[in-house]
C-alpha cells in the first residue's frame, strides 16, 4: 500500500501526514466554517457522573495505522507546532458509505476544545423530485437513495404506498418481503464486518492485505457474502436496486428448486458463521471499552424479532405506531452544531443492530443466542462499538429465520397470485422497516390520481448523527492524552461502528447558530452536520 506510516509521537505535532486526500479540501459546502464553541467540550467534561465513560484501554496494538484521511492543510497549518496541542481533521472518513468528517481540537493541557462530526454530502433533493411522481415508479426512484439499503428503501416505500391506497398483500408476499429484508441485512452486515470493520481490528488499512495474511477467514466471510448476494438475487431479482417488488406483491417469484438450493446453502453456511463468531470473539478485546447510556429505538413485535412489521419501541418510552414517526424523531437545533439532530426522550438516541438486539433479544433464534454468548454480547451493554457484534448476531438470526420462512414457502408451495387491483386515491401512508442501520420511515401523501403531493423519508443514519456526536464528545476526553494517530483511529472506528450510510442521510440542515429554521411543509432534505 502506498499510504505512509504515521509515527504518532505522544506530543503530537500537527501537520504530520502528507497524504493528499480529496482534491478539494475545504470545498464542502461551507463546512468547517467557524470552530464550534466550547459548549460541546464543556458538556462532555461535566458529564463525569454515572453515564460518563469508563476508563478504557487503548485499542490496537503495535504501530498506529496510518490513515488516509487527509489532514486539512489549513487546519494543520493553524496548529501551533510544539505547544502540545493536537488537531485532528479526518476529511471524508474512509470505509463508510458516504462522506463525513471528524474534527477534533485538543489544547496543550489535553483539554478538549472541539469535537465535531460533519456531513458534507452533496444534496440530491430526493423528496423534491418525488413530487408529482406516480405510485408505480416511486419505490424504484427512492431505491436510488442508497445502493446498500436499496431493498429497505423499496420496502418502506411500498408499505407507505400500500398504506395510503389501502392495498392488501398476501401472506406469501409478506414472507417473501421478510426474506428480502433478511437478504439485505446479511449483505450489508457482512460487508460492514468483513470489509469495513475487520481491517481496524487486524490493524491494517483495508481488506486487501488480509487476503494474504488471513486468507481462510476472509474467504470464509466472502463466501457468506456471496451467499447473501445470491439470496437477494433469488428473492428480488438483483443484489442492488431489485426489480421484482411492486405495490401489491412481486412480479416474479423464486422457483421452488431455487429455494431448495438456498435452504441447503443456509444449512451449510452455519459452521462458517460460527467460525466468524470465533474470529470476532478473539478480536473482541480490540473494541474499545467505552460506554455511554443513551436511548435505543427500534421496531418491536410481540411475536418475532421485528424487522418488516412492528411498532416503534424504545428503551425509555412507550410503543407507538409507525404513523407517529414524527413524534419519535423530533428534530431540533443545537448551538454548537448545524446538523439537525433527532431526539425522543433524551438528547439523542441510537438506532441499528444494537438497538434491535436490546429491544428484541428474547426473540432471537437459538444459534443466534449462542453466537451472542460466544462474542460476549449482553442485552445490558451500552457500548456503541458493540453494534458490530450485534450485527454478527443478527446475521445468524437472519439465516435461521430465513430457513424457517423458506421452509414455510416450500410446504405451502409458491403460488402465482393475482395482482391486487389498485385504485389510486388521495391519502397519506407511512411505512416503517428495520434496515441494516436502523429504522427507516417513508411517509407519502398522494392525490386522487396516485401522484405524490408530499414525501418525507426519515433515515436511520440521520437519527444516529446526534448520537455519534455525543459519543465522540464522551470518547475524546478519555483518549485526549494519546497520540493524534490514535485519536484519529479511535474516532474513525467509533463512526464506523455505527455503519453510517451518509448517502442516505437526509434532513440535516445548515443553520447559523441561534437561528431556528422553520420546517417548511414537512420536506426538509439533507445534508450536513455542520
Amino acid at each position: 500500500m502506498s499510504a505512509k506510516k504515521v509515527t504518532g509521537n505522544a506530543g503530537g505535532k500537527a501537520g504530520k501526514k502528507s497524504s493528499g486526500g480529496s482534491a478539494a479540501p475545504a470545498q464542502d459546502t461551507k463546512a468547517s466554517g467557524k470552530p464550534a464553541s466550547g459548549v460541546a467540550a464543556e458538556a462532555a467534561m461535566q458529564r463525569g457522573g454515572s453515564a460518563g465513560p469508563k476508563p478504557m484501554k487503548a485499542a490496537g496494538s503495535g504501530a498506529p495505522v496510518s490513515s488516509c484521511a487527509c489532514t486539512d492543510p489549513g487546519i494543520a497549518a493553524e496548529a501551533a507546532a510544539g505547544d502540545g496541542s493536537k488537531r485532528i481533521h479526518v476529511h471524508h472518513v474512509t470505509r463508510v458509505e458516504g462522506h463525513g468528517n471528524i474534527v477534533v481540537v485538543i489544547g496543550a493541557d489535553n483539554a478538549v476544545e472541539t469535537v465535531r462530526w460533519e456531513v458534507p454530502e452533496a444534496p440530491r433533493f430526493f423528496e423534491a423530485i418525488l413530487q408529482g411522481r406516480s405510485y408505480k415508479d416511486v419505490h424504484q426512484i427512492v431505491s436510488r437513495i442508497c445502493g446498500i439499503c436499496s431493498i429497505g428503501h423499496q420496502l418502506s416505500s411500498l408499505q407507505a404506498t400500500e398504506d395510503a391506497m389501502n392495498i392488501r398483500i398476501s401472506e406469501q408476499t409478506v414472507t417473501l418481503r421478510k426474506l428480502a429484508i433478511h437478504a439485505e441485512n446479511l449483505q450489508s452486515h457482512l460487508l460492514h464486518l468483513a470489509y469495513l470493520v475487520l481491517p481496524d481490528l487486524m490493524g491494517v488499512n483495508s481488506v486487501i492485505p488480509l487476503a494474504e495474511t488471513h486468507k481462510s477467514e476472509l474467504v470464509g466471510l466472502i463466501g457468506l457474502r456471496r451467499l447473501a448476494n445470491e439470496f437477494s438475487r433469488t428473492i428480488c431479482g438483483r443484489t442492488t436496486h431489485p426489480q421484482r417488488m411492486v405495490p401489491g406483491g412481486f412480479t416474479k417469484l423464486p422457483d421452488e428448486s431455487e429455494l431448495q438450493v438456498l435452504l441447503q446453502s443456509f444449512r451449510d453456511s452455519l459452521p462458517g458463521f460460527l467460525k466468524a463468531a470465533d474470529l470476532f470473539a478473539s478480536l473482541r478485546h480490540k473494541l474499545p471499552d467505552f460506554s455511554r447510556e443513551t436511548e435505543y429505538i427500534g421496531l418491536v413485535s410481540p411475536s418475532e424479532y421485528a424487522l418488516y412489521r412492528g411498532e416503534v419501541g424504545s428503551t425509555d418510552d412507550s410503543r407507538k405506531p409507525a404513523s407517529f414517526y414524527k413524534d419519535v424523531t423530533q428534530e431540533y437545533c443545537v448551538p454548537q452544531s448545524t446538523a439537525k439532530w433527532t431526539k425522543n426522550m433524551r438528547g439523542s438516541f441510537m438506532v441499528g443492530a444494537l438497538s434491535r438486539y436490546k429491544l428484541n433479544h428474547t426473540h432471537l433464534k437459538p444459534t443466534a443466542k449462542k453466537v451472542a454468548e460466544t462474542v460476549g454480547l449482553t442485552p445490558d451493554t451500552v457500548n456503541p462499538f458493540h453494534n458490530n457484534l450485534a450485527q454478527l448476531v443478527e446475521c445468524v438470526h437472519s439465516v435461521e429465520d430465513s430457513m424457517e420462512l423458506i421452509h414455510w414457502l416450500l410446504v405451502e408451495g409458491v403460488k402465482r397470485e393475482k395482482a391486487p387491483v389498485i385504485r389510486p386515491r388521495a391519502g397519506r401512508g407511512v411505512g416503517a422497516v428495520e434496515v441494516p442501520r436502523g429504522i427507516l420511515f417513508h411517509s407519502y401523501e398522494y392525490d386522487s390520481k396516485g401522484r405524490i403531493v408530499e414525501a418525507d423519508c426519515v433515515i436511520p443514519t440521520n437519527m444516529n448523527h446526534a448520537n455519534i456526536q455525543k459519543d465522540l464528545e464522551g470518547l475524546v476526553p478519555v483518549i485526549a492524552h494519546t497520540s493524534e494517530a490514535e485519536i484519529e483511529l479511535l474516532t474513525s472506528m467509533l463512526v464506523r461502528a455505527y455503519d453510517p450510510c451518509i448517502s442516505c442521510s437526509t434532513h440535516c440542515i445548515d443553520i447559523t447558530p441561534g437561528q431556528m429554521s422553520k420546517p417548511d411543509r414537512g420536506v426538509r432534505f439533507v445534508y450536513k452536520g455542520r
Binding site: F125, G147, S150, N205, I222, R225, V246, I509, D510, V523
Partner: protein, 248 residues
Amino acid sequence: MQNKPKIAFFDFAGCEGDQLQVANLEESLLDLLGHVEVVSFREVMTGHSEDYDIAFVEGSITRPEDEARLKEIRSHAKILVAFGACATIGGVNAMKNFMSETMYRRQVYGDNARCYSTYAARPLSAVVKVDAEIHGCPIDRNEFMRIVKDLLVGKRPFVPDYPVCAECKQAGNICRYDLGQLCLGMITRAGCGACCITEGAHCWGCRGLAPMANLDAARYVMEERAGYSRTEVQDLLRIFLSHTTAPL
C-alpha cells in the same frame, strides 16, 4: 507490487451502489487485485494516493465545486471511466433539472434556501473528457470485469450500440407492449441482457439512449399504437433519460 496498473475509485453525488457492485465481485475481486493495485477506494479502504493510471468515477456533478475536484482527478488519470448511470447519463439526480431551482431549494432547505450550492445535475462527460463508460443503474458486475480487462490490455471496451429489445428477444421475454405496459427497451442501449424485463419489470432506460435510437418511431409506438399519454411517456423518460432530453 511493481508495475501493476494503479486504479482509484471516486464518487460524487450518487448512492455508491456501483462501488458496492464492485465490492460484490467477491472472489473475482481478489483475482482482479492480483493484476491491479487499488490506491484509493474510500468506501472499502483507508489509504489514498494521487498516483493512479485508471480512475473510476461514480456519481453526477451537482455543484460547481465538484467540477474542480473532477478536473483534478482528470489531470492525474491516464484513463477516466464513468461508471453507473449517475456518472454516464446524469441518472435520477437529473430529475430535478425539470423543476424550478427556487422551488426545490425552498422545499428542502426552507429559510436556508440559498445556503447550499447546487446546480443542474449533469454527467461527468459534461465537465471533462471521459474515456470509457460502464452503463447501468446499478452496473453489471460481469460487464465491469469485462471492461476492466479490456482496459488493462489496452483495448477499447466494447459496449453494445443496439437497443435492449435485441437482448430481450434472446432472453425469451414477452414484449411488455403485448402485456399492456410501457417500456423503454426499444430506445435504450443494450448490454444488460434485458434484466429488468426478465425479472418482471419493464425497461427504465438506465443505460442511456442507444446511439441510433429511432425516437420518432418510438414516439409513434408509444403514443399512437399503444395509446399512452404524453405525460406517462415523459414521466418514464425523465427518470433516467432526463439529461439526454430525448425529444419525445
